[in-house]
């Protein structure tokens, strides 16, 4: 061991434990404060199970839309040429830089009760989807873009010279090469969507059984001093994120090995 390893490792562990690990452990611990049956009861109350199902459903929709539009945007940014392309490219990162509460506010201006388009999505599920699409926009675009840049054009040219149509080339050559990147971006946007709070809080209006996503539900349980119930739903959410990230890791290893 080099000098300083032990000291550095000790301090890093202390810092991580005090801020991240012990508190997260406390959430899991508290979730079964009333035993396993208590945990099961807390996550299967009509409100909790509806909020969990809604969150997963809405996030799946967001992930699928992102897979399509994210790939399309990456394609246009790499293969198309038009004035202002660099500006559009820089714009993609805006949702990561913009505070989430500002994102919610901004969407409510266009898709809220005072919408100049006459489209009022406030307190509706489509409104929640739009808010989540805003904050997850960069994931698929930014994972697919570099792969598309690196993609060998000679394969496409060879296929074309052998008489393949553009649709066939896309389906048989381009798409299989992009698949791992699309899958990674989609999984990341799903994981972000199930945990998002700031962007959805204004537009969802916190209506139980209708628009109340899990993080908003947890928040209102904390406000009502039901920390055990909040911890139970949190634990389920943490488990779902964990499963998504682990399977993403597996998919990426599989893709690397296949190359």
């Amino acid at each position: 061991m080099r000098p300083g390893t032990g000291l550095g490792l000790g301090l890093a562990t202390l810092y991580m434990s005090a801020i991240v690990l012990v508190p997260l452990g406390a959430v899991v611990w508290r979730s079964r404060g009333d035993g396993w049956s208590g945990f099961w009861h807390d996550v299967t109350t009509p409100e909790a199970s509806s909020t969990l199902r809604l969150t997963v459903g809405v996030s799946l929709a967001v992930a699928v839309i992102n897979a399509g539009f994210g790939t399309l945007i990456a394609w246009v940014l790499v293969r198309d040429r038009f004035a202002g392309k660099r500006f559009v490219d820089a714009l993609i990162d805006l949702p990561f830089a913009l505070p989430t509460i500002v994102a919610g506010l901004v969407l409510l201006a266009l898709y809220g009760p005072e919408s100049p388009l006459g489209v009022d999505l406030a307190y509706t599920r489509p409104g929640v989807v739009v808010a989540l699409l805003f904050v997850t926009l960069p994931f698929v675009v930014r994972t697919v873009q570099p792969v598309l840049i690196e993609l060998d054009r000679e394969m496409e040219e060879a296929a074309a010279s052998l008489g393949a149509t553009r649709a066939t080339i896309f389906r048989r050559i381009i798409l299989p090469n992009l698949m791992p990147a699309i899958a990674a971006g989609t999984a990341l946007s799903f994981a972000r969507a199930i945990s998002e709070y700031g962007a959805t809080v204004l537009i969802s209006g916190n209506l139980p059984f209708k628009t109340q996503v899990a993080s908003v539900h947890i928040f209102s349980q904390i406000e009502n001093d039901n920390t055990t119930g909040a911890a139970a739903v949190s634990t389920v959410l943490l488990l779902v994120s964990l499963v998504v990230l682990l399977s993403l890791d597996l998919v990426q290893r599989w893709a690397v090995r296949r190359d």
Binding site: V20, D80, L94, V102, L110, L133, I222
Partner: protein, 268 residues
């Protein structure tokens, strides 16, 4: 070359992609910008100089600067550990660093309350000694540190790996102390990656909402940050102040975005 795609497909795809971005990003942001300055810049400055808004600025800066300093020191130290040192459990540490990115901000807040809340053992013990964490600045700083923890590490690790160890070894051979080596060799080598990580951490810290909303108790004029101010003003039908503060936050975000593009390590 492959045949050029038919113009219909090419333009169709371009219009679809740009239209999606317009309706999701550009028009909503532009609309709020326009509404903020509908009556000129005077009302905006007025809304931002109310005592409540000024206080929110102060709290935000306080919390964000603690988080940035703490995570910069931690980030550089952990990056050096991960790249330059060998120890057991390295892979576990490497995985745990990314954990905060997968946790909902609301759960971050709940987690801190369950340890440092006044009714919990640790928080109660600290409270008896006059140290309040939850509903006060220390808890808000901890929440912000939690959510922005991986950003410096993830920006610095690849740079450290690429720089390699030769120069540092040369410095040691010539008798430089570890601190001298770090200051004269390592720090200059990682400066752009570090700058990128710090900008990301700062942007994330200024914009954090969910975790702060839980641990701060949202006490107006006391623990209210700028993002909480935006929400509270909006809920109280004071759209103008909400828009003005949102504009200030968005302005910082855009500056951060430009800084990110400048300091981003060049992609080969």
């Amino acid at each position: 070359m492959t045949d050029a795609p038919s113009p219909v497909v090419r333009y169709g795809m371009r219009i679809l992609a740009l239209g999606y971005l317009a309706f999701l990003l550009v028009i909503p942001v532009g609309l709020v910008f326009w509404r903020t300055f509908e009556n000129g810049i005077g009302p905006v400055i007025e809304a931002l100089s109310s005592p409540l808004a000024k206080h929110a600025f102060t709290v935000t800066l306080q919390v964000a600067s603690i988080a940035v300093v703490a995570n910069t020191i931690f980030g550089v130290a952990v990056s050096l550990l991960l790249v330059r040192h060998e120890f057991r459990g390295k892979r576990i540490l490497n995985t745990l660093i990314d954990l905060p990115l997968a946790v909902s901000p609301v759960i971050v807040g709940l987690a801190l309350i369950l340890v440092y809340g006044r009714l919990e053992p640790v928080g109660g013990w600290l409270s008896e000694r006059g140290i309040d964490i939850i509903f006060a600045v220390p808890g808000m700083a901890m929440a912000t540190i939690f959510v922005s923890l991986p950003l410096v590490v993830r920006a610095v690790v690849p740079v450290l790996e690429e720089v390699g160890i030769e120069q540092e070894q040369a410095a040691w051979t010539l008798g430089a102390s570890p601190i001298q080596t770090f200051r004269r060799i390592t720090l200059p080598a990682i400066r752009w990656g570090l700058a990128y990580g710090i900008v990301l951490t700062l942007a994330r810290s200024l914009g954090e909402f969910g975790a702060i909303a839980v641990v701060s108790g949202r006490i107006r004029g006391k623990t209210q940050t700028l993002t909480l101010f935006v929400e509270e003003r909006f809920q109280n039908f004071d759209e103008h102040a909400a828009y003005a503060a949102a504009f200030a936050l968005a302005g910082v975000a855009v500056v951060a975005l430009v800084a990110m593009n400048i300091s981003r390590p060049e992609e080969s």
